[in-house]
């Protein structure tokens, strides 16, 4: 049993060793080993050579990338320099072009910037009912203003008043049909010498007060002119220098205007009171007028913020009006305007004139007016129609210096259909030494364009 166990153990051990221990390879010869070793060494050498070659290629690629980045930087710098050179060239070209005076400037497409024609103005249609008279519709006024601008400092402007009137013969008897009247209200050439002096020449709106320059048509919230404006000439043919100077940066300014104009003259050359002609002297023959008149206005505008401002002005004119040059006509006007908020304004003028005559000595037409307006938009009610209403009132009075006097109180409204289309209405209470002056209702549609 012991021998059998011993033999069994030896055989088992042999089997185990056969499994565990590697089988020994078939025996190789030295030559084969050396060949294998040599082959392996060759392969290793090849791998080393390949690696070395790869490293060289990597270095070359890195160098190429570096060169490329440098070239990109240089190209960018070159582009910046080129752009600067182009800008300098353009600037030089612009300066050179500014010095060139083309003989025939080529107009640009569309509206020209240097020459421009514009049409502005206003039109009014009225319905009028005076006590003791029939009511009627009137084309109260069509007042176009033509503006022609030549350059930055030259403007020619002209305004007309075009109306329709029933026909009358020379004796005052009503005739059939109607006629159209065309009145040149002003026509001036305006030349801006510099920032402070403007030359105005032609048929000028005279700066006696501010109404004639700023009270036209749709600008006037009451359909008719203040009574005392009738003692002043509204326009005159002559020349004027005007301008203004800002005071500080708050919008305050001082304004001036000085002018020479034909002024009032005589209808028959005499200095008789009845021959006074305020507007008629346009320099045509017969010219029963000895010398031109001179006048001017100084104004001071003081805003303390937008829509809060006060303006004060004093103006005057004087000159001989008769053919002999012995009789003086003169006028002084004080004007003021006050705005307190976008909703309230009050303005007025005091007008005084003196007329020397051959027959009655010196007579003294004078008058004054004050007008106020209050926009109901200030109440901020939730009714748009009420917010668009402005209540207006005016008191005006005039004395002709020969005994006639008229006083008028006007109550009215302006309804703003748009910013330039206004529906106005007022009732005028007249108290006059002239019995034909009666209380009057006026409704007016006024459009500014």
């Amino acid at each position: 049993m012991r021998i059998h166990s011993l033999i069994f153990g030896i055989v088992a051990t042999g089997c185990a060793m056969a499994v565990v221990l590697p089988r020994s390879a078939e025996a190789i010869t030295d030559e084969e080993f050396r060949a294998f070793q040599q082959q392996t060494q060759q392969e290793i050498q090849q791998l080393q050579d390949q690696r070395k070659q790869d490293q060289q290629e990597i270095e070359q690629l890195k160098k190429k990338v570096g060169d490329t980045e440098q070239k990109v930087d240089e190209t960018q710098k070159s582009a910046v320099e080129t752009q600067k050179k182009a800008e300098d060239a353009q600037k030089t070209a612009t300066e050179a072009a500014a010095q060139v005076q083309p003989v025939h400037p080529v107009p640009s497409e569309g509206i020209l910037a240097t020459h421009n024609f514009s049409l502005v103005g206003d039109a009014e249609v009225q319905f009028v009912k005076s006590e003791g008279q029939h009511s009627a519709f009137l084309l109260a006024d069509y007042a176009p203003i033509f503006l022609y601008r030549a350059g930055d400092n030259v403007l020619f402007e002209a305004g007309f008043d075009i109306g329709l009137h029933n026909n009358f013969d020379s004796s005052g008897t009503r005739q059939a049909g109607s006629s159209t009247s065309v009145d040149l209200s002003f026509a001036t050439l305006d030349y801006l010498f510099n920032d402070y002096v403007t030359l105005v020449a032609g048929d000028m709106l005279l700066p006696l007060g501010t109404y004639s320059e700023r009270g036209a048509g749709w600008l006037n919230k009451i359909p008719d002119d203040p009574l005392p404006r009738s003692v002043l000439p509204g326009s005159g043919i002559g020349v004027q220098l005007r301008g203004s100077k800002a005071v500080g940066d708050s919008g305050q300014m001082v304004t001036y205007a000085i002018y020479g104009a034909n002024g009032p003259s005589s209808t028959n050359g005499t200095g008789m009171a009845s021959a006074l002609d305020l507007d008629g002297n346009v320099g045509d023959t017969p010219n029963w007028h000895s010398d031109p008149s001179a006048g001017g206005r100084v104004g001071w505008f003081i805003p303390w913020k937008a829509h809060y401002d006060l303006e004060l002005g004093v103006s005057g004119q004087a000159g001989q009006w008769d053919d002999a040059g012995k009789r003086l006509w003169s006028a002084t006007v004080f004007d003021t305007a006050l705005h307190l908020s976008p909703y309230f304004e009050v303005k007025g003028e005091y007008i005084d004139t003196w007329v020397q005559t051959d027959d009655i000595g010196t007579f003294h037409p004078w008058g004054w007016w004050v007008q106020a307006g209050y926009k109901l938009g200030a109440l901020d009610l939730d009714f748009p129609m009420i917010n668009n209403v402005e209540l207006v009132a005016r008191y005006d009075t005039v004395r002709d210096g020969l005994g006639a006097r008229t006083e008028r109180e006007t109550l009215g409204y302006v309804y703003y259909l748009t910013n330039t289309l206004q529906f106005e209405g007022d009732y005028e209470f007249l108290n006059s030494s002239d019995p034909t002056q009666k209380n009057t209702l006026i409704l007016q549609l006024s459009y500014g364009f």
Binding site: I111, A113, N116, V120, I145, L147, Y148, D152, N153, L155, E157, D190, L192, N194, D195, Y196, T198, E213, W218, L219, R242, G243, S244, K245, A246, G248, D249, S250, G251, M253, T255, Y256, A257, G299, P303, W304, K305, A306, H307, Y308, D309, E311, A337, H339, L340, S341, P342, Y343, F344, A372, Y374, A378, L379, A393, E409, L411, N419, T420, F429, G448
Partner: protein, 103 residues
Amino acid sequence: MKRLHLLTPRRLTSLAIVAVGAMFVGAVAVTIAKDGGTTPARKKLTGAELYAINCNRCHAERYATERTAAQWKSIMLHMRVRANLPANQAKAILKYLQEDCGN
């Protein structure tokens, strides 16, 4: 009652004017109280502010889009002469109108 005959139409009208004037003054007082009436800070005024100060004195606002840039140039030349505006203010107002006219 005896003195009622003194209230002629003319005097009634005058009283009406005075009453309306009193209402105006009262409304103005309310408006000023609401608005504060503060003094503006000292700074250069913009074209829009100069427009509000000068142009609204005489007429309702004219919108910049009503005219082309070239037309505004002519109209502002007319208004500079008519309203006797200082040159720098007229230029600032023109710039404001031209920038906002859109054409």
